[in-house]
């Protein structure tokens, strides 16, 4: 089998796992400045899944695709350090404010430019929004099948893939034709460490915008080493319809953002009676823990 073309969808997210007291602003929005920007954890599981396929099938190519502001180029470098072959940053002011629908439209248009591809791998969901919608929506927009909650690739050839899915009450083994979108669960193997030589090789990888802002004097280097350029694609580059992007392309409207503070410090034991359970449900809805 010749190598496979694998695209990994990755997102730079605020590290919500170590939330300090400055995590939220007074207006109830996330204070991104106070939270370090990291590689979305399940996207790292997705990258590892892709790299393992590459290990097994030499000649395969792993491309990291991310959408975000200029600093999201860091995600691509992080991917290159761990063994990805190249990366593309989708960046344009016109993408700003996109919900999952607009995001998946933009990503699907970028993927069309990367045809032919065999496999698109993404984390199940991102820790900032936790929607788990982008992967499946990309599959729909590309009219290809999808396998969610993937834990392990059991077999893959040029035409099909067999995957073990991790579900709430067990596992499921499914087979799909290629190309396919696979979203990866956190129970899949952790991503490998950065590789020393890859880090030294790709630490100078930059987008054109970063190069323009950089004071480093390595111009010669970029002339000789085209692999150090991280491609930046704008709306025009992916030939997307602007009205389907950004706020105008996003039907999701945030009604209100509320800062919920849990006040109960100790656990409570309820009986099995319907009345008590209903009482708890009303209470949780009223204090906006659910609903």
């Amino acid at each position: 089998m010749d190598g496979l073309n694998i695209i990994v969808l990755a997102k730079q997210v605020p590290d919500t796992r170590n939330v300090g007291k400055d995590a939220m602003k007074a207006d109830g929005t996330v204070n991104r400045g106070a939270l370090p920007a990291i590689f979305n954890p399940e996207d790292l599981n997705a990258l590892e899944l892709a790299l393992r396929i590459k290990d097994e099938h030499p000649g395969s190519k792993v491309t990291v695709l991310t959408m975000g502001p200029g600093r999201a180029a860091e995600i691509i470098r992080e991917g290159l350090y761990r063994g990805a072959d190249n990366g593309i940053l989708l960046t344009d002011r016109k993408f700003a404010g996109s919900d999952t629908l607009a995001t998946s439209y933009a990503i699907s248009m970028a993927i069309r430019k990367l045809t032919p591809y065999h496999l698109i791998v993404a984390g199940r969901q991102a820790i900032d929004g936790d929607t788990a919608q982008v992967g499946p929506q990309v599959a729909e927009k590309l009219s290809i099948p999808q396998i969610t909650y993937a834990e392990e690739v059991l077999a893959i050839d040029e035409k099909s893939i067999t995957i073990k899915r991790r579900l709430e009450r067990g596992v499921e083994i499914v087979k799909s034709s290629l190309p396919v979108v696979v979203t990866v669960h956190s129970s899949a193997p952790d991503c490998r460490s950065r590789h020393a030589k890859q880090v030294m090789k790709f630490k100078h990888a930059k987008t054109v915008t970063e190069l323009q802002d950089s004071s480093e004097d390595y111009i010669e280097l970029y002339k000789d080493r085209p692999y150090l350029e991280i491609k930046e694609w704008s709306v025009a580059d992916i030939q997307a319809d602007e009205t389907w992007l950004g706020l105008s392309g996003s039907p999701t409207k945030v009604k209100k953002v509320e800062n919920v503070v849990f006040t109960a410090k100790e656990s409570r034991i309820l009986s099995e009676s319907d009345a008590e359970i209903e009482g708890l449900m009303i209470e949780l809805i009223e204090n906006h823990t659910i609903g």
Partner: protein
């Protein structure tokens, strides 16, 4: 999510030492690899940035994988199955993670798939791994053997063995035998040339061999039959893929239990000669041992760092008499001294490493071109300091590491005596550091030349001349007064002119010199960063008193008093 490199500012501080520019420029030889290898640096800043980024990987693997595995590795240990040593599960994971991250063969040149790192970042990596798991540090640290092959073996052997390190091959140095421990001249394992098979064959027993079932082993053997001393010994490389090696047993040890210590039987095992016959012990193993001693220095500093951190954590959390115990004077005194001592041995470790770095760079350059007279002079000078500072580093850091582990356990109280806290393992792991690769007593034998020739004193005078800011001068006054006492003590002992008497007093004299040297190193650190002012002050105050005690002991001791000690 722990990172043992980025959570410790001392590391970057040592990396930014002014001498690093010279070291890296020499190591990279005008950055000649930059157009041949995609991962070679273009200039000094680029190289230092690469060191930093690669050590971040090491720190992350140490924090996230090796340290969390340490407890299970200690419990599980290695075992022998079908004449192979099977590592504990955690050991295998550790080794795989480091191999996959390209961290084996760090100091080898790029043509052998190495990273061409200078010694400082390599020793730093060894320190980080030791902090995570001192036992595992032995398995990882034996990549030192690659350096010996690189320095002394033929191109053919280098081409065959060196690229295997980066792929994860493990190594061992097979020196000790049942009757040849500290006295390696007594090695009996035989090497004989087999004319029909056109190879050397090894026959005999090795004992206490760390990682004895390694992929690549360096074996010290007697090639000159009929000889009895070190001049009849040669060094060989044995490939585990060949037949002829029996792993007889694994020792059941007190500490570093994850590291397999093996008894080996060589039975017509084919091997290749490294370098020239008869130079095995007197040249190659001496060099190998110096590397290994520096390695134990790094291991000791790593263990000390781990022990200190455990102590602080416990003292902050433990409440007695209504207070966190860290608030009690007897507890914070111990902790503050521990912190100063860890920084002290770290400063000494990297000073020594820099000396080793410079002379080794010149040594490798000399393989390709003739050094200028000036360069040769410099190489000689740095080698002299490396040779004197290496045993001093091994001595002081291993002894301190034991004391720090002892104090850390003490701070844990009864809880530290239980197997519930890491300090119980760290304490056991620390114990070997003053013993292997030459006991503390033998380090003194190697370092005493620094005292008797006046070399340490010269170095102290050199340090004394360094420019200091006004707020640090008072500490130098203490060191100058310590130096006067040291000189007087040395003169007194030398005047007696008796070898046994000198042997009796030598440790005191070496330690007195060591205390002054480390005092200056911390003072110079304080010049570069305010953060080292307090540790320097704490350290110098303590050793000022310690040297006075040693001074008094030496001065009131007569040759005839020796009789009272002889058994």
């Amino acid at each position: 999510m722990a990172n043992f490199y980025t959570d410790n500012p001392d590391m970057r501080f040592q990396m930014e030492h002014p001498l690093m520019k010279k070291i890296v420029d020499l190591k990279e030889r005008n950055y000649q690899d930059k157009d041949t290898y995609s991962y070679a640096p273009r200039d000094f800043e680029d190289a230092l940035d690469s060191y930093d980024k690669v050590l971040e990987i090491v720190g992350e693997i140490c924090g996230d994988i090796i340290a969390p595995n340490a407890e299970n590795v200690d419990h599980e240990g290695p075992q022998i199955i079908d004449n192979r040593v099977i590592y504990a599960k955690g050991t295998r994971e550790n080794h795989e993670a480091l191999t996959k991250a390209g961290l084996i063969g760090m100091s080898l040149p790029r043509k052998y798939d190495g990273l061409n790192f200078s010694m400082v970042p390599y020793v730093m990596a060894a320190e980080l791994v030791s902090r995570a798991d001192a036992g595992f540090a032995n398995i990882w640290g034996l990549q030192d053997c690659a350096e010996t092959i690189h320095e002394f073996a033929s191109d053919e052997i280098k081409d065959e063995f060196l690229p295997r390190f980066n792929q994860g091959s493990t190594a061992a140095m097979d020196l000790t035998e049942p009757d040849a421990g500290s006295d390696l001249q007594a090695v009996q394992l035989k090497a004989t040339w087999d004319e029909s098979r056109q190879t050397w064959l090894l026959n005999g027993v090795k004992r206490f061999i760390t990682n004895g079932d390694a992929d690549i082993s360096l074996v010290l053997a007697r090639s000159e039959s009929g000889t009895q001393d070190g001049r009849g010994l040669s060094l060989y490389v044995y490939d585990r893929q060949d037949e002829g090696l029996i792993i007889r047993r694994i020792e059941n040890k007190m500490g570093i239990k994850g590291s397999p210590t093996c008894e080996l039987v060589f039975n017509n095992a084919p091997a290749k000669l490294i370098g020239s016959r008869k130079l095995g012990l007197i040249k190659y193993v001496m060099s190998l041992m110096n590397g290994a001693r520096l390695g134990v220095g790094a291991q000791s500093v790593g263990i000390a760092e781990a022990a200190y951190r455990e102590a602080v954590k416990y003292a902050q959390e433990r409440i007695q008499f209504g207070k966190n115990i860290i608030k009690f004077a007897p507890v914070y005194e111990i902790l503050t001294n521990m912190d100063a001592d860890v920084k002290a041995i770290r400063s000494l470790l990297y000073e020594t490493t820099r000396f080793v770095d410079v002379y080794k760079c010149y040594m490798h350059i000399a393989e390709d071109r003739k050094l200028s007279a000036e360069e040769r002079e410099e190489q000689k000078e740095y080698q002299k300091w490396a040779d004197l500072f290496t045993p001093l580093t091994k001595l002081v850091s291993s002894e301190y590491c034991n004391r720090i582990a002892y104090d850390s356990l003490q701070i844990h109280g009864g809880a530290g005596f239980m197997k519930d806290f890491p300090i119980e393992r760290i304490y056991r792991d620390a114990r070997i550091t003053t013993i292997y690769e030459g006991t503390s007593q033998l380090q003194v034998v190697a370092a005493i030349r620094g005292v008797t020739t006046g070399a340490f004193l010269n170095k102290i005078r050199e340090y004394e001349c360094n420019e200091l800011s006004h707020d640090l001068v008072y500490m130098r006054r203490s060191l100058i007064s310590m130096t006067e006492e040291y000189e007087k003590a040395v003169d007194t002992v030398m005047a007696v002119n008796d070898t046994e008497y000198l042997d009796f007093q030598s440790r005191r004299l070496v330690e007195m010199a060591g205390n002054i040297i480390i005092g200056y190193l911390l003072l110079m650190d304080a010049m570069r960063s305010e953060a080292y002012k307090k540790p320097a002050e704490v350290f110098i105050r303590r050793v000022f008193a310690e040297n006075k005690q040693k001074f008094a002991y030496v001065m009131q001791f007569d040759l005839k008093d020796l009789a009272a000690y002889k058994i």
